[in-house]
Amino acid sequence: MGYATKSPWVIHYDASSCNGCDIEVLAALCPGFDVERFGIINTGNPKHADIFLVTGSVNERNISVVKQIYDQMVEPKVVVACGTCACSGGIFHDCYNVIGGVDQAIPVDVYAPGCAVRPEAIIDGVVQALGILDEKSKALKAAKRGA
């Protein structure tokens, strides 16, 4: 395992979520679970983050924001869709302004379903994302060496 997996910094964005999943994301980051044990830090700055946690579906208003944040993140990066809304649009999927799950805007690496998604499911999702992050980090290194 490379260093990328030992210090995953996350950024959390609330798309059109009902706030249920957001509370769960923050609950997963609270001292009770103490994710800093694994080096996880909630950064609030896309340029510093490695893992993008999105809750809620994307709509016409926030799709540009989701894309912005994703583009500002520095490679290697992974996206975890937290909650059913973020995975597929959930109960809001046929709203007039809802486009769908997060994967309609940006490439999603891990889907963590649940309404609301449980902190355990989020942590599971992040752990899975770490494996992908490691692969991406290795690929980036290889590409750099090749270039």
Binding site: S7, K47, E75, S137, L140
Partner: protein, 289 residues
């Protein structure tokens, strides 16, 4: 001879300070976590963080922030080298301020509003602590009759016996210098604060790694300044100096965890008042001695 000494000191500091600083930063995070009822990250977490940052892709907004940060690192190493090779305290203080200025330039260079606000606030931090740093150096000179840190070993008793008010003042501004709460106004280590990340908002990858390493080195240097007050007689007094420096470090972590951030007005006012009272009174007292 002094030039060679400084050069050797600088190289030694550039190698050793990041190691010591990294361990101190790891210890800081563990102690902070324990104070909050958590287990906390492994001791080497700051090292993992920096290694990860170095592995990240190169992205820069202005193209020059990395260069500015390299300058800041070099000046930090130089300031540390001068101090730990027993050189001129005043010079060390000036050069570390140079490093701070390069850090501010790096933040300004991105032209991002968040980074600019952070840079402005970092400037205010420099303005807040600089008077006390200068008065501390003056007090040291009046007590030890030399600006050279190495001359402290020729004293019969440590300078703290004569300049303890300046030491109290220095402890106050140490919190600002280490960018710890309640004076962490230019940048923050935690998300969901008003300025996002202040100075480092637009920095990523290697540039951010340089910022981290610079902070480690700075911490070691400032703790060195703290220990300097307790040097006298022979090199054996270094043990006491190290103990005091570690105690000050623990005290700073405690303060960091127990006080909410203040507004910059309060920081500037209180730091200048402390400098005038503690430093000023001390200078007058030494002048009359």
């Amino acid at each position: 001879m002094t030039f060679i000494n400084t050069l050797i000191g600088t190289v030694a500091f550039a190698i050793l300070a990041p190691i010591v600083g990294c361990l101190l930063a790891g210890l800081d995070r563990i102690i902070s976590a324990r104070m909050q009822g958590r287990v906390g990250p492994p001791l080497l977490q700051p090292y993992y963080d920096v290694r990860k940052l170095i592995d990240k892709d190169d992205v820069t907004v202005s193209g020059v922030d990395g260069v500015y940060m390299t300058c800041a690192l070099v000046f930090t190493a130089f300031a540390g080298g001068i101090f730990f090779s027993g050189g001129n305290l005043l010079m060390s203080a000036f050069i570390i301020t140079m490093a701070a200025l390069f850090f501010i330039m790096a933040a300004y260079s991105s032209r991002s509003p968040y980074a600019e606000v952070g840079a402005g606030r970092e400037t205010l931090q420099v303005m807040s602590y600089e008077p006390m740093v200068l008065l501390m150096a003056v007090c040291f000179f009046m007590a030890a009759h030399s600006f050279n840190v190495g001359d402290a070993f020729k004293l019969n008793m440590p300078v703290i016996t004569l300049i303890w008010p300046a030491f109290i003042g220095f402890l106050f501004i140490l919190t600002i210098k280490l960018r710890k709460s309640p004076f962490d106004i230019s940048t923050s280590h935690h998300a969901h604060q008003e300025l996002v990340k202040g100075t480092t908002t637009e920095m990523s990858g290697k540039t951010l790694a340089k910022v981290e390493i610079m902070h480690w080195c700075e911490n070691v240097l400032f703790l060195g300044w703290t220990g300097m007050f307790f040097l006298w007689g022979g090199p054996l007094s270094i043990i006491l100096a190290v103990v005091v420096a570690l105690a000050a470090w623990f005290f700073e972590i405690w303060v960091d965890n127990n006080f909410a951030r203040v507004k910059w007005q309060l920081m500037l006012k209180s730091a200048w008042i402390v400098a005038l009272v503690c430093g000023g009174v001390n200078v007058v007292f030494l002048a009359m001695l």
